[in-house]
Subunit: 275 residues, 2 copies
């Protein structure tokens, strides 16, 4: 049975994504994105699932930094999941009595308008994850609610007092399946790379994009991350359409390797298709 | 006296930056980055200070999204501040007795190695800000500590039990001073813009960067943000060297306006120079 590490605890959106990817796998929660990466690169598990990009918040920077820095890790697949926030409470709790609402600060922010409209008197408290919010809510001395994925309602003795409470309906998260190797060519693939330049990075970026444009390779994403050495020095991340074994992509990567200071192929993998 | 809104509460790094920018101003804390923006655009205050980029974490996405979307706001100046995390406790607390450590999740993450080495037995609890962590620590039923800026130690009855506890010494944050208008030309300026394209964004980005490269205009930063309508559609943000009134920058912006779907100049302002 395939062992898959995921960013835990159980009851998070990442567990939902992992279940959707392979519901028959042995799913194992790990406490941080870095721990999932280590589980995969060390062979403790076969694969790992971590969030990589949200349609409202942008990239999950921990995941990008992990892929940039850790060796022995590739992107093997991607999963796209709509994010639907639920409001959970202890059985018997009435919505008007709720005094405190727990969640991860990002989930609280994504439901700000809803909370102002429906729970103007409730105070908001930070939890370490949307799953931890359920425990915080259950232990609260006053009537409380937690913003969590639906999955958390399946795992705990709670009732759903609100559903799809996020302010923006276009809330979708992309997850990466990590493995020691990337995916064989399927004919409908994407390739993720990162690269940097010794100096004059933004001028060089123009040249780098040219290697793709000249070969009519479409880019799906471009991102920059600080190189963590000095403000204003960046590592660039690009997702392009095609597999790294496709001849045009292969040529572009070879050209880029000649002009960049560092080039790392993070993986080629099938493009997500809504089921 | 100049009234300056800042991302509060008092005792945060943003207050430190505002004090460094103008210690004689009437500094007023606001609860969110959006509230600071509204204070400035509505004339409640003359200016506002918000974090925009950290050398380890990358961009502060709330601030980028505010600049992209809210009208009547320009970047008037920038401030660069080293981030030095302190460990604060109630007077009389001994480090070996500390059972809980409070802070914003980002600050906890930036001190992870330090906490694992020096406080392996302490549990970590999330607070809504590094300033709120001090209150959480003061109200803790067990011996506790808070990761906070030094400024918080000046404002509360606490002792410093650790200083410069961040794992990476290159931890620097850039803050933006917001105003209704941007800064007159000084001869050593930067200009921040954002823009988007109707379709084929990454290919178009190549053309956009060309407008700057052809005119020998250096770029200091490039970033992308989701447009919040669909996964994979982006708004690009660029900082270029020069003032928007400089003839070459003016030409590049005019050319870009002709090919982009949306172009907004976020402001021209003097480049930060370490004092």
């Amino acid at each position: 049975m395939r062992r898959i590490a995921f960013l835990g605890p159980v009851g998070t959106y990442t567990e939902e994504a992992a279940l959707q990817y392979d519901s028959s796998a042995d799913l194992q929660p790990f406490p941080t994105i870095g721990a999932v990466g280590l589980a995969v690169s060390s062979g403790v598990t076969d694969q790992g699932v971590v969030p990589i990009e949200n349609s409202l918040e942008g990239s999950v920077t921990f995941t990008l930094d992990l892929l940039i820095r850790q060796s022995g890790l590739s992107i093997y697949n991607e999963i796209v999941l709509p994010i639907e926030h639920y409001l959970l409470a202890r059985p018997g709790t009435r919505a008007p009595d709720v005094e405190v609402i727990y969640s991860h600060p990002q989930a609280l922010a994504q439901c700000r308008e809803f909370l102002e409209r429906c729970f103007p008197q409730a105070t908001q408290e930070a939890s370490l994850s949307t799953a931890a919010a359920v425990t915080d809510m259950q232990e609260s001395p006053v009537p409380a609610a937690a913003i969590s994925p639906k999955r958390a309602a399946d795992l705990h003795d709670v009732v759903i007092i609100g559903q799809n409470i996020q302010d923006n309906p276009n809330n979708v998260t992309r997850f990466a399946v990590l493995d020691k190797v990337d995916h064989p060519m399927t004919g409908n693939d994407k390739t993720s790379i990162c690269f940097s330049f010794k100096e004059d990075a933004p001028g060089s970026l123009y040249g780098a994009l040219g290697e793709f444009a000249q070969r009519h390779i479409n880019l799906a994403k471009i991102e920059s991350r600080p190189n963590k050495e000095a403000l204003g020095q960046y590592i660039f991340l690009i997702d392009c359409i095609g597999h790294r074994e496709d001849s045009r992509v292969k040529e572009a990567l070879a050209a880029l390797a000649g002009t960049s200071n560092m080039l790392k192929v993070l993986g080629s993998y099938p493009r997500w298709q809504a089921g």
